[in-house]
Amino acid sequence: MKPAPFAYYRPATLEDAAARLADGADEGAMILAGGQSLVPMMALRVAYPSELIDLNTVPGLDTPRVEGNTLVIPALVRHATFHTPDPAFGPTGDLMASVVRHIAHHPIRQRGTFCGSLAHADPSSEWALTATTLGAELELLSVRGTRRIPIADWIDGAMSTTREPDEILTAAHLPLIPPGSLSGFYEVSRRAGDFALGMALVVLGMDGDRIGEASIGLGGIEEIPRRIPEAEAALQGQPATPESFATAAQAAMDAVDPMSDATTPASYRRDLAGTVIRRALAQAATRLPAPV
């Protein structure tokens, strides 16, 4: 478990990092953020970067901020930042505080980054699910300039993104959950801190006592976390009741194409998809005002 030889570079600015990455990307230069995925992969010799370009020395990237209706999360914001989020983040902060407890363990959360999770694109990344369900946009920088793309165009497979080799993910822009919406998150993993076997994140816009717009995100079940339009449609205009939740869950179970491996068959994940959606919805419903 000793990594293969690599060079190490500490850029002073993002532009410096981008220039260095442009030079080295062809040989295999890689960005180092929290190192909580990349470094173990190097130790196991499944990743062989020719050079690590360590973003940790670039100032000004470690604090999230609200801009209008968006939460901007720059490249060095650690998972742990969301343990006690800024009250200005509103319900989005509360939701992220409940999500973050499911990511790995305390020490890992002190180093691992939000953007690193999106760049790593594990099918069970909580932040990839959060970004997907809330409809985030990602900001990318290279020597060729900057671009912004929606999260739906970002992850294109398990551990795979559409990032060009010379691009740095500089920030994620997360739309804030509108006031009056309900949200819920439910995850099932083998042990505390393990990657999810399955998880759901839901946001329900309420139209009186009926559900208006629903966002139902599912992670860990398919290779790519995604919203399930069939489940969302099933809730539109319905009351928030166990019955409507069960219908939505069933719609999701019918719609998904679960991963299958030697440990976890697709049938298990399909049932789990329904379970986590139902439970995330039930959790959201606990935030409904009590009936008079």
Binding site: M1, L44, V188, R190, R191, A192, G193, T263, S267
Partner: protein, 778 residues
């Protein structure tokens, strides 16, 4: 300690006290010296190249690139030449010789992870870089055998992959089944898992060409046996090899055996004339160090109308992995030899198919054969109770061997010794265990929660352990002129607290402070013989040898003290590190007594010089502690996840030298037991590729998964086989965990007989529930 007045209150009554551990200070202060912390001048670093193939004939090992790297040396089996294979500890079971492992694969590879080459380099990074360039090509001739119940294949021409079928039994089983009111049959399995010490293995060897002497650091568990085998393999005198045990970060039975890597490191040191260091990494540990536990059991019981067992018939398939290692067929042998636990079984027939497969070789892991066997036996008891509509505890009571039947001759052997249950009150312990955990309240609570829609249940596993395995142990105790006491033993320490327990026994016997004792273990240069640390034997074997040596010293010290104090020896009491004349209150310290016994001391007279004594303890029979595990679990019926909410263990240890340490042993063991019951499994795909080689895939319980645990230590049945009544406690926390958890899950889901294999993963339980409800068998 207050300075109590003699002779009424003895200050040195250490046995039975939960004193703090002597071994902890260096460990918590960062002063531990593990093998990876050790270095020798001019050392080389070794890296093992391991087979990426589960099976096949080796066609080529391409070392060209590594050979060209500066300072790198590569050996394959061919380059190494003829080297003896790793031997095993012989038993009466014959025919295992063809199956032992070469230090580097010869002609064939047989599992993923098998050593095929070794690289030596100046630096561990370079060694790993070089190792990565070496490619092993094989020709796949036969598909890998991955199931011990599959038809045996060919190991070598004319030699099958079933080295032996171990058979045991007594009585007329056929007649019992013919006469039985009920026959209950189960098909059960335990998954492949093992001890995963926090510190992986390591070895550092140095050859002194001038003296013709080899030193090996990193030994543990069996230093003397390993020394003797290395001497044989290298054609050296045992006096020319020394093994040294440094601090050890856990062993659990799998660490400290003689492995290919140990031999290779020594050969590197001898042939390259430079010290060689090898430190295993986690990934290779998961496919190189011994696995354990994978067994399939077809068990049948003949029972009369009142629930008395008439006979048990058992067929075991033991998945040994690719080679026979140092334990030979012991785990299979012990599994059927100790299967019957606390119950009276008038007739018994068992056969253990000991079979090789294309997986990492297996051997003993904490409670070998008993974790598996307790799961099987207790599942059977629950199934019988269910069939007869009887309370499962009542059924057990009806079949318990009674106190009046002790010592009880089983008519079976295990670990080469006759199984004679030395002492025990099983019925009494069950009653105490029920009271201790609040059995009735727990049942009521579970029932109420089930009525409210939760899946909550309680399960019990009763077990008999074995401990104090002989044959012998030697101890030398020496009191220095400053009063410090050195105890040298050939036993070993894997962190279990033996230094403290042995110090307590020595100090108690000598009337000294236990912190004045220094226990030296695992050093072949300090003592001629030793049997190491395994089989819950150290407190019993080294403990009794220590008591004997200390008793002799006590008497010699008192004799000298009597003269120094001008007293009658019978008036002198040793306590608090000094000898006191009870008539006058005058005293001398142990150090002063040792000084008076100096060879040139004028006070010595014709007494034996020095204050040092050796004693042996020989023991042909093991002793048999016993206990009960009681678990309360909640099952998430949708996801199949099981949460262990509460756990209680009652255990009779005969005589508790240090209750807090015993609790620690039981608690740590339980974590491993729960791992085997719910989480841990070495899985393989259909090509024999291991799927569990990191901690992301091989799941061990963390503190978050541990329940509240209550531990009751009992001393109702001291062993008659040693004067202190000692029995061991190293394995009790593991033994019945699978049994109790399986029963609790059945109860939570109100589906008797649901759980038929361990570990009960969410995926297994999810599928099993659907199958059970559809009326299918396991």
């Amino acid at each position: 300690m207050t300075d109590a007045t003699l002779p009424n209150a003895r200050r040195s009554a250490w046995i039975g006290q939960s004193v703090t551990r002597l071994e902890d200070r260096p460990l918590v202060a960062g002063l531990g010296r593990f093998v990876a912390d050790m270095d020798r001048p001019r050392q080389l670093h070794a890296r093992i190249v391991r087979s990426p193939h589960a099976t096949g004939r080796i066609t080529d090992i391409d070392c060209a690139e590594a050979d060209a790297m500066p300072g790198v040396t590569v050996w394959t089996a061919e380059r190494l030449g003829e080297v003896p294979r790793i031997p095993f500890r012989a038993t009466k079971i014959s025919g295992l010789e063809p199956y032992v492992q070469p230090v580097l694969a010869v002609e064939r590879v047989r599992y993923v992870g098998e050593p095929v080459a070794i690289v030596f380099a100046e630096d561990p990074y370079v060694a790993e870089d070089a190792a990565e360039t070496i490619f092993v090509d094989v020709e796949d001739d036969n598909p890998p055998i991955l199931d011990a119940r599959a038809a045996p294949g060919t190991f070598l021409p004319g030699i099958s992959t079933e080295p032996v079928v171990v058979e045991k039994g007594y009585g007329d089983v056929e007649a019992a089944f013919a006469a039985a009111a009920h026959v209950v049959e189960l098909d059960l399995a335990t998954g492949r898992h093992s001890g995963i010490p926090m510190e992986p293995r390591g070895a550092l060897a140095e050859w002194d060409a001038g003296r013709g002497h080899l030193d090996l650091w990193g030994a543990t568990k069996r230093p003397h046996w390993n020394r003797d085998r290395l001497a044989e393999m290298f054609g050296l005198s045992p006096t020319c090899i020394d093994l040294h045990e440094p601090h050890v970060g856990g062993g659990f039975g799998i660490r400290g055996e003689l492995y290919p890597e140990d031999v290779l490191v020594c050969m590197g040191a001898m042939r390259l004339r430079r010290p060689v260091k090898w430190v295993e990494d986690r990934r290779e540990h998961m496919m190189a160090a011994n696995h354990s536990r994978e067994q399939q059991h077809l068990i049948r019981a003949a029972v009369d109308a009142d629930g008395h067992i008439l006979a048990i018939d058992e067929t075991l398939h033991h998945d040994q992995g690719a080679y026979v290692r140092t334990h030979g067929a012991r785990v299979a042998d012990m599994s059927i030899g100790l299967l019957l636990g606390p119950y009276r079984v008038p007739a018994y027939a068992a056969r253990a198919h000991f079979r090789l497969t294309a997986k990492t070789p297996a051997a003993t892991y904490r409670a070998p054969g008993r974790f598996e066997g307790s799961f099987v036996r207790e599942r059977l008891m629950d199934a019988i109770a269910q069939r007869l509509a009887m309370d499962p505890l009542e059924l057990r009571r009806r079949n318990f061997i009674g106190t009046s039947e002790m010592p009880y001759q089983r008519g079976l052997t295990a670990l080469e010794s006759e199984v004679v249950l030395d002492s025990g009150d099983y019925d009494g312990l069950l009653t105490k265990a029920q009271d201790f955990c609040g059995w009735n309240d727990m049942q009521a609570e579970a029932a109420a929660r089930r009525a409210a829609g939760e899946a909550v249940g309680i399960g019990l596993g009763f077990f008999v352990e074995k401990s104090g395995l002989g044959p012998s142990e030697l101890v030398r105790v020496t009191i220095a002129t400053d009063g410090e006491i050195e105890i040298v033993t050939g036993a070993a320490s894997l962190g279990q607290g033996m230094e403290t327990a042995i110090a307590q026994i020595a100090a108690d016997t000598l009337g000294a402070d236990y912190t004045a004792c220094r226990v030296i273990h695992g050093q072949t240069d300090r003592i001629t013989h030793g049997w190491g640390a395994h089989a819950s034997r150290v407190t019993v074997m080294t403990g009794e040898a220590t008591r004997r040596a200390a008793t002799e010293l006590h008497d010699r010290a008192r004799d000298m003290a009597a003269e120094l104090l001008d007293a009658l020896p019978t008036d002198v009491i040793l306590d608090g590190g000094r000898a006191t004349n009870t008539a006058t209150g005058d005293h001398v310290t142990l150090g002063q007594i040792a000084a008076a016994l100096d060879p040139v001391s004028p006070r010595r007279g014709d007494r034996q010089p020095g204050l040092s004594a050796e004693a042996w303890f020989h023991n042909t029979h093991m002793n048999y502690p016993y206990g009960a595990h009681i678990a309360m679990v909640a099952v998430d019926t949708e996801t199949g996840r099981t949460t262990v909410e509460r756990y209680a263990i009652s255990y009779d240890v005969g005589r508790a030298v240090n209750p807090a340490m015993i609790e620690g042993q039981i608690l740590g063991g339980l974590a491993q037991g729960l791992g085997g019951a719910l989480l841990e499994e070495f899985r393989y795909d259909q090509d024999g590729q291991p799927l569990s080689v990191t901690f992301a895939d091989y799941l061990m319980p963390s503190s978050a998964e541990m329940p509240e645990v209550a531990i009751q230590i009992l001393e109702d049945a001291p062993s008659p086989l040693n004067p202190l009544g000692l029995k061991g406690s190293g394995e009790a926390g593991v033994t019945a965990a699978g049994a109790a958890i399986a029963a609790a899950i059945d109860d939570a889901l109100q589906r008797p007989g649901l759980v038929t294999r361990l570990p009960v993963t969410p995926q297994y339980l999810h599928a099993r529930l659907a199958q059970f409800d559809a009326g299918g068998d396991a």
